[in-house]
Symmetry: C2
């Protein structure tokens, strides 16, 4: 590819033009869709932009990638600055590069999906933003840039990964009951699941280990489970 010589090598592009262009290359940003389950709803964390032409609009936290920085490092850094989260599940979604997606400049955004197990884990909000808040997915406010598209993509990805990976472990506390797990699946997939069949299916995947503990409450105690691995595990379904 020889990136450095590309402009010279491109047929039909004069040298004079190249010189001008050198400093008008697209920038790279990351934007992170952070999801958590709260009150039986999938929620996404949005920040309210303080500056620029989109000031006052809501968006996913993000920002420019620094020179020498890995993409996911950038995503983690922006997320930390906007939410105080030190560590969470993070996965790249897709890149969005419409030159008009940001009215001010050509910014290519690499979108990320992040998951945490409780909304209250989010504390601080960067001075970059005037506000930060959880919104129910499906009732998001009007979003800046092309973030509505990013949101739709993230929801689709979450749903599909729930079906063939152990990704759910990032939306639940370290130990949980089957009822909690089933509720999570029901909420995200948007349909009720048969308790017996659900339990069988999940156990067949062998993702869980039963803990020698029970959750005690007002009623019959419920066995607690944990995921065997917290790292992403894909279920083969040949």
């Amino acid at each position: 590819m020889s990136y450095d010589n590309v402009a010279l090598a491109e047929p039909g592009v004069g040298r004079g033009r190249v010189a001008v262009r050198r400093h008008a290359r697209p920038k790279v940003a990351v934007d992170t869709v952070l999801f958590a389950i709260d009150q039986a709803r999938v929620k996404a964390y949005l920040v309210c932009l303080r500056w620029g032409p989109s000031a006052g609009k809501w968006a996913f936290p993000g920002g420019l990638v620094r020179d020498g920085e890995m993409l996911d490092e950038a995503a983690r850094r922006e997320l930390r600055e906007s939410t105080g989260l030190e560590d969470c599940y993070l996965e790249q979604l897709c890149s969005f590069g419409d030159p008009n997606r940001d009215p001010k400049a050509h910014v290519v955004s690499v979108a990320y999906l992040a998951l945490i197990d409780r909304t209250c884990a989010v504390h601080s909000c960067s001075p970059k933003y005037s506000n930060g808040q959880w919104f129910e997915v499906g009732h998001l406010p009007e979003l800046a840039y092309d973030h509505a598209e990013i949101a739709a993509y993230a929801v689709r990805r979450l749903k599909s990964k729930l079906e063939y990976t152990n990704i759910a472990c990032n939306l639940l506390p370290p130990s949980f009951t089957f009822a909690q797990l089933e509720e999570l699946y029901g909420i995200v997939l948007g349909r009720v699941l048969d308790r017996r069949n659900f339990r069988r299916r999940i156990l067949a995947m062998n993702l869980l280990k039963r803990l020698p503990l029970e959750r005690r409450g007002n009623h019959r105690p419920a066995a607690l489970y944990a995921f065997r691995q917290r790292s992403l595990q894909v279920i083969e379904m040949l």
Copy 2:
């Protein structure tokens, strides 16, 4: 996100440093993995780099995205310049952003997957490259940058999409026999398929229409089929 103010808003980064950084932002490139089936093998098109520290190494065709250019436009342009292809299936894979992936500069690459139905559709080779050639996937030469990783990702994506979309239509001529289709699946998936079961499965997906034509040859004539749609169609498997 307010991209423009991000540097100022970042805590712990002094203003002096920011000024220096402004012109050292990562660049954006696209790299395209072009596949075709040839002689019962999956092949990928590689170009040999002429300039830069990786000169002499093979890589997927690609280059920097221009200001104001859509990502897929950039991928198509680079592909056109390197292969002469005017139009083909193109889909975004993933972005690769390791700052050390290119020894010369921090370049974030958005990888693309491209498919054509015959290797001989590739003609020209940009003066940017010293050579261009088809290689059997699985016997690729040593690749520049992180292109080996990109190659692995592209192969995985192709295999999985073959199973639940009509993507195969981009690897076949407009009309084809069931034997050709079955051969294609066998080659890409790397295993032999039962002819009767394969036919049943494919017909159940309802992706094909039977043409009122036959391919005549030395033996019994074979019915010709075509895909109903050439646009990407995802099969729901609830």
